[in-house]
């Protein structure tokens, strides 16, 4: 069901390094690569480094698992609003389901996302985890 190797490699760098897109005309940022700005239609888009911290905009705990996550859950999925306002969808790790909250500060955690099949390639990407205040 999930993309085969070449498609995973096409986006690997962006997912590994949390690169995003920014319109140089209106400043709109997006997590995925875009050639046309969804706000002002400009074609002047640059690739940028997205911030690695943000807060939880909304979350859910997934109990009914898709085939690729068989035996893995329940797991927390969230829309994270990064410091620059960019929103993205990611799993929240190192956090118990009862502890997750809207507005909770989170930071980037590079993790394994899945495996194509038992002997297939393993693929990685971004997840987020709570920021533990270090005093």
């Amino acid at each position: 069901m999930m993309p085969k190797s070449p498609r995973i490699w096409q986006l690997a760098e962006r997912r590994y390094r949390l690169l995003g897109s920014k319109c140089t005309v209106c400043g709109k940022t997006s997590v995925g690569p875009r050639s046309v700005c969804p706000i002002c239609n400009s074609e002047k888009i640059e690739t940028i480094q997205l911030p690695s911290t943000g807060t939880i905009y909304s979350y859910t705990v997934v109990h009914a698992l898709p085939a690729e996550k068989s035996g893995y859950g329940p797991y927390i999925m969230a829309i994270v609003e990064l410091e620059d306002g960019t929103k993205l969808t990611a799993e929240i790790v190192d956090c118990e389901p009862e502890d997750v909250k809207i507005g909770m500060p989170v930071e980037l955690a590079f993790r394994l996302i899945g495996q194509e099949s038992e002997h297939g390639i393993i693929y990685y990407g971004y997840k987020f985890r709570p920021i533990i205040s270090r005093t």
């Binding site: 069901m1 993309p3 997934v62 109990h63």
Partner: protein, 388 residues
């Protein structure tokens, strides 16, 4: 532009139809629609069929000519339209435009999905393809999870309660209990909804539409010839279609479905009516939260007051605007590609006065609203007993 009328409707029993194949289901619904319209298959000039993912569910693509073949439409043009859960709502819209343009005078529009041949986790994965596969599903988002994210935000921003979500399920089950073609012809209670297993919190199993096999079909014609075929043709008064970002995270406020707002405003304008003129509506309750948000985005109530609207019984049969008299996606069933046309079937029966125990008395104007993915597609149609 020519006016369009519905002159025949047909629908299979929805549910787990383990003994029937995709093509069998479609032909069953289509034959019934032909019979209802009292026309021969030779008079049908084209077929428009909504189907989400026969390739994933039964391994068959290119389903339009397959269905035309088994329906014996004899080389007539056959189109397949895919827009996730809005597939046959969109097929209906294209068929309306084809008649309105004058290209065809009589066409069939249908929808079909055969889902129960694959496992539930596989179905969850196929559903997730209706969202952004690279930037949502890849990371583990499922379709119920997307609507759970929406529900959580709606609860925070407007104080909507789990009990209010459950009331949508209770109402739609109560209506389905009066619909002989519904998948679930039994009632549930708020307690039972809230005690059912969590799918993706805050959504429980009984907040979610089920996995369903089924098909629905209707016959459309130019309004000028409709009286020749039907005593009570039901006229298409207006429609609207809109899209939104494929990924939920690309929307500024996920508690509003922008495509629903846009599509409905176009439809109201074209029909020359306001929300208060709607006597009965079939709305897209793939999850209970979706029906509540739809009340708001269609202008049935103020933004944020959807939970209150269900709580006060305004959308019950006998209420201000009865919604999902068929039982909705929740309890009539949600065979993805068939859902949009199944909504049309219910509204046509309501406006004809043939809805039996679930009849809304004196219904003159009806609405269907069909959503694809997490709200990336919305198509709205408004129907009337009287021509506009």
């Amino acid at each position: 532009m020519r006016d369009v009328a519905v002159i025949g409707v047909g629908m299979t029993k929805f549910g787990e139809r383990w003994d029937k194949q995709l093509r069998d289901l479609f032909v069953e619904a289509a034959n019934e629609a032909l019979k209802d319209a009292n026309i021969g298959r030779d008079e049908v000039q084209a077929l428009f069929v909504g189907n989400f993912s026969a390739g994933s569910f039964v391994g068959q693509e290119h389903v339009a000519p397959l269905l035309a073949d088994y329906l014996s439409l004899k080389s007539k043009p056959a189109f397949r339209i895919e827009s996730a859960c809005a597939s046959s709502g969109m097929a209906f819209n294209l068929a309306c435009m084809a008649i309105a343009s004058g290209i065809y005078d009589i066409v069939m529009v249908g929808g079909v999905e055969k889902m129960t041949d694959v496992s539930v986790p596989e179905i969850t994965s196929v559903h997730a393809k209706a969202m952004d596969v690279e930037w949502e599903s890849f990371f583990g988002l499922t379709l119920p999870a997307a609507f759970a994210l929406i529900a959580r935000r709606h609860m925070i921003q407007y104080g909507t309660k789990p009990e209010q979500l459950a009331m949508v399920s209770v109402k739609n089950h109560r209506n389905a209990a009066k619909n002989p073609l519904a998948q679930f012809q039994f009632e549930v209670t708020i307690e039972r909804v809230l005690a059912s297993p969590i799918v993706s919190d805050p959504l429980h199993v009984l907040d979610c539409s089920p996995i369903t096999d089924g098909a629905a079909a209707v016959i459309l014609c130019s309004a000028d010839i409709a009286k020749k075929y039907a005593d009570t043709p039901i006229y298409v008064l207006g429609f609207g279609v809109a899209s939104d970002s494929i990924a939920l995270h690309d929307r500024s406020d996920i508690t509003t479905l922008g495509a629903v707002v846009k599509a409905s405003r176009q439809a109201y304008k074209m029909a020359g009516i306001e929300p208060k003129n709607i006597d009965v509506a079939e709305l897209h309750d793939n999850f209970t939260i979706t029906e509540i948000i739809s009340y708001e985005d269609l202008g049935f109530c103020e933004k944020g007051k959807g939970g209150l609207m269900i709580q006060e019984g305004e959308t019950e049969i006998g209420g201000r605007i009865p919604v999902n008299t068929s039982g909705g996606l929740k309890a009539r069933g949600n065979p993805i590609g068939a859902t949009g046309v199944a909504q049309v079937v219910e509204i046509v029966q309501q406006l004809r006065g043939e809805a039996g125990k679930r009849q809304v008395s004196g219904a003159e104007v009806g609405m269907t609203q069909n959503i694809g993915g997490s709200g990336s597609t919305c198509v709205v149609h408004i129907f009337g007993r009287q021509r506009r």
